[in-house]
């Protein structure tokens, strides 16, 4: 993968995790496979687990063990209030960032002077 893309991916990944948890709790495997389904977002699934540990340490998510119908109990991840706030802030910033970059990429900045 391009170095630039891999840097963007690394920065955006944790917010993708928070976004997946916005409306529901999920367990690790489920989170990992949902992220993997997005093209180019995850190259090594195993590296998501250290990321989840970090999010838990930063109190953006909490975990709880829940029984599963098939097999051993699973660790479920849930968004905290702080996690929700971080996600909302990133969503706003990301939209502005994406629009700005898109505008430059498509127009080459030709409208800069018109706009000003």
């Amino acid at each position: 993968m391009e170095p630039a893309l891999s840097q963007l991916r690394r920065g955006a990944l944790e917010y993708c995790v928070l976004a997946l948890l916005r409306d529901q709790e999920r367990y690790g495997f489920e989170l990992v496979r949902s992220l993997s389904a997005v093209d180019g977002l995850v190259t090594s699934e195993g590296t998501i687990y250290p990321l989840l540990t970090r999010l838990r340490k930063e109190a953006l998510v909490t975990t709880s063990w829940q029984e599963s119908a098939s097999g051993p109990p699973r660790r479920y991840y849930r968004l905290t209030d702080a996690g929700g706030a971080a996600l909302a802030a990133f969503s706003r910033d990301w939209a502005r960032f994406r629009d700005g970059v898109d505008a430059l990429l498509t127009s080459g900045g030709r409208h800069d002077h018109d706009a000003a």
């Binding site: 690790g28 090594s44 699934e45 990321l51 097999g71």
Partner: protein, 181 residues
């Protein structure tokens, strides 16, 4: 933990992960290995556990070394770690107490595993002491005991060697277990 009979590839992978994560604090290492194990079991429960499926699941995880690196193996040397290494290195200035202060700082740090702390703090004085005694006994028996004009006996010199060298050796070993900043 599980009733599923596991493919040896999985055990081998988890062992490699355990080894690659050897520098993590014990709790975090165990947790990481347990999480990856849980992932593999969930994935195989979904895909079936024949050989190609196992290979596919492990391949998607990435290498154990990559996962360990993402988990922050090789903790950086922070202020506490630097202070511990410096105090140990110059601990001979304050014999005994200097070493104890250095040891306290090392034990307060989370950058080293319990095993590394033990090797650094306990083994190094023993190695130096043993080395000093072997050298001195050899030298004194060769020179039939009268070559020490310093007035110090072999034991005193051995103790001095420990005071001077044990801290340095401990600092060198502990330093080698940390990532360069």
């Amino acid at each position: 933990m599980t009733t599923m009979r596991r493919d040896p590839l999985v055990d081998d992978y988890l062992r490699r992960l355990e080894a690659a994560a050897g520098d993590l604090p014990r709790e975090r290492r165990k947790e990481l290995v347990a999480e990856i194990e849980e992932h593999v079991e969930a994935a195989l429960a979904e895909s079936g556990d024949d050989k190609p499926a196992v290979r596919d699941v492990l391949e998607r995880l990435g290498s154990p070394e990559e996962i360990a690196a993402a988990a922050g193996v090789a903790p950086e040397r922070g202020r506490l770690e630097r202070a511990a290494l410096i105090v140990l290195s110059v601990s001979f200035v304050l014999p005994g107490a200097g070493y104890l202060i250095g040891a306290g700082l090392v034990l307060a740090s989370k950058a080293w595993t319990g095993r590394e702390q033990a090797i650094g703090l306990l083994l190094s004085p023993f190695v130096v002491l043993a080395g000093a005694i072997v050298v001195l006994v050899g030298a004194s028996s060769a020179a039939s005991g009268d070559s020490f004009d310093s007035g110090l006996g072999p034991l005193e010199i051995a103790v001095l060697a420990v005071v001077f060298l044990a801290g340095l050796l401990a600092a060198a070993y502990l330093s080698s277990r940390l990532k360069r900043p």
